[in-house]
Symmetry: C2
Subunit: 100 residues, 2 copies
Amino acid sequence: MDRIGDKWSMLVLLSLKGGPMRFTQLRSRIGGVTPKVLTQTLRAMEQDGLLTREVFAEVPPRVEYTLTGLGRSLHGPLSVVATWAEQNVAEILRCREKFS
Amino acid sequence: MDRIGDKWSMLVLLSLKGGPMRFTQLRSRIGGVTPKVLTQTLRAMEQDGLLTREVFAEVPPRVEYTLTGLGRSLHGPLSVVATWAEQNVAEILRCREKFS
DNA sequence: CTGTATCCCGTCTGATACTG
DNA sequence: CAGTATCAGACGGGATACAG
């Protein structure tokens, strides 16, 4: 939770589920994230072994981000939580209205 | 994740699994949390419908916190994530060492 | 006992501009 | 294209003291 509970890590994880992606591709897929923050997020996830960063020495430069086995293995557990959230978000919102 | 990904919510959830608890009881069980922050945490969880706060008009005052059905229903999904974390924490730590 | 009131600091996140 | 540099705001969390 400490590692993927931030604002963007989970969206990166979901975006990369379909296969490797490049920096800009990832950025537009997610939407609303600045390059600085996306870089921070990706580097942290790389350090945790959730994804790999591969640089191709080309012109123009190309960098691909790919989920590791560890990263892919997170999808199962997270989807369990996601399912719970989807099933209960309505009740939670209803509950919060009472306090407004 | 937005709601229970903070520093203390999950510990509250786990602590209350065994049944209702009072403020101070909860505080010493968790350990290291100041009254202000614990109050913030509990109020947020109450608003989300994860627990109820019941005040008893006694001397000395008594307040009990109890998990709702919604709160209890979170244990399953979270334990799935917890299991994943326990099984993979070693590999994650090993990975982080490479970058140090 | 169960909190509230203040003050404070570090971190997260973002806007904007710039670079190899 | 894929970032880095810089500045700044908002927020979570903590220390301490006080109150009903």
